[in-house]
Symmetry: C2
Subunit: 193 residues, 2 copies
C-alpha cells in the first residue's frame, strides 16, 4: 500500500559516511547532509533518526567495511610481513593518488569524540580489540607456520603495529611525501623481526 522509498538506504548511508568521515561529526550539519546526499531532511529523520543515530549507523558501516577488507588483505597473503606491507600500502596509495585525504574515520572519531558519549567509546574500544585480535592471530599463525621468526610477544607486536598504523593515518593527512611514509613502513615492520 505505501509509497516506496525513492532512494537506496545503503547508498544514502554511504554518502552520509563520506561526509562525516571527511568533516567529522560537529562540522557536518544536517543541511550539509541534505545537500550532499540529495534527499529531503524529513526522509533522513524518518529513516535513520536524528543526527547522532545517523552518525552511528554511518560509522558502523565504515567499521564493517574496514574490518572486512582488513581480513581480506591479511588472509590473502600467507607471508606476514608482506600482509602488513600490503595493508600499510593502502595508506600510501591514498596519499599518492590524492584521492582520499580524509584519514581514518575511526581515528578521526576517537580524537574528536573521546572523551564523551560512553556508548560510542565502548564501540571504539571494542573495534580496537577486534583489530588487535585479528593482527595477533595473523602473527601467531605466521610464527606457528614458521613464516615468522621472533621471540617477541605476538599480542604486543599486534598492538604496536596497530598503534603505528593509527599514527600513519594521522601523519598521512599532512605528510605528502609518499617515500617518507614508505620508509616508515619498512622500519616499522622490523618490529616483527
Amino acid at each position: 500500500m505505501p509509497r516506496t522509498k525513492q532512494f537506496d538506504e545503503k547508498e544514502v548511508l554511504n554518502k552520509a559516511m563520506e561526509l562525516f568521515w571527511e568533516k567529522g561529526f560537529h562540522a557536518t550539519s544536517i543541511q550539509d547532509l541534505v545537500s550532499h546526499i540529495g534527499i529531503n531532511r524529513a526522509s533522513i529523520y524518518d529513516t535513520y533518526g536524528d543526527k547522532t543515530a545517523l552518525f552511528d549507523k554511518a560509522f558502523e558501516q565504515y567499521r564493517n567495511n574496514s574490518l572486512e577488507s582488513l581480513r581480506n588483505i591479511l588472509h590473502s597473503e600467507p607471508d606476514v610481513k608482506k600482509g602488513f606491507q600490503n595493508l600499510f600500502q593502502l595508506v600510501i596509495d591514498d596519499v599518492k593518488t590524492g584521492r582520499c585525504t580524509k584519514g581514518c574515520f575511526v581515528v578521526n572519531t576517537i580524537t574528536e569524540l573521546v572523551p564523551g558519549d560512553a556508548a560510542l567509546q565502548n564501540k571504539l574500544v571494542q573495534n580496537s580489540a577486534i583489530t588487535e585480535a585479528l593482527f595477533a592471530e595473523y602473527i601467531r599463525n605466521g610464527i606457528t607456520s614458521g613464516n615468522l621468526t621472533t621471540s617477541k610477544n605476538p599480542e604486543a607486536m599486534a598492538f604496536t603495529l596497530f598503534t603505528l598504523f593509527s599514527g600513519l593515518r594521522v601523519m598521512a593527512k599532512i605528510e605528502q611525501n609518499p617515500s617518507k611514509l614508505s620508509d616508515t613502513i619498512a622500519i616499522g615492520l622490523t618490529i616483527l623481526d
Copy 2:
C-alpha cells in the same frame, strides 16, 4: 590613560587552550569559552580577535609548550632509548593518573581540521618537520657518540618514532590498560636497534 585589563592574557589563553584541546574547534562555542574562562565575550574579541584567531593563538601556545618540554626531556637524557622512553612515558602517566584524557592537541587538530584551512595545514606540516628534525638530531648524536648502534637511517627512524608517538596518543584515548601501552613502547623502541 586607559583602564587596565582585569585578566592576565597568558592565563586566559591557557584556559582557552585547555578547552579547544579537550573539545576541538567546532565543538567549542564562544559561550563555552566565556563560561570556562570567566571573562566577557567582548574582552575575548577585543583582545584576541574572532574564534579562529583565538584558536590559532591557543594552538600556537600549545606548540611552544610542547616543543620546549620535548627538547628538555630529550636533552636531559644522554641515553637515546631512555630519552624516548621518558618521552613516551608521559603519555602513559596521563592514562595512569586519568588526569588528562584530551590526547594531543596537535593530533586532534590534524584529524579535525585537515583538509581545510591552508595556513593551519602549513603550520602543522612545519610543526611536524621541527619535531622530526629534533628526533633525528637526537638519534644522530646518539650514533655519533656510540650510545646507539644501528645501520638504519636516522631520519627514517625519527619519522617512524614520531608516527608511533602520534598513534600512541590516539590509542591512549581509548586504551585504559597502561601496561599494554608500556609493552608497545618497549617494542616500538626496538626500532632503534
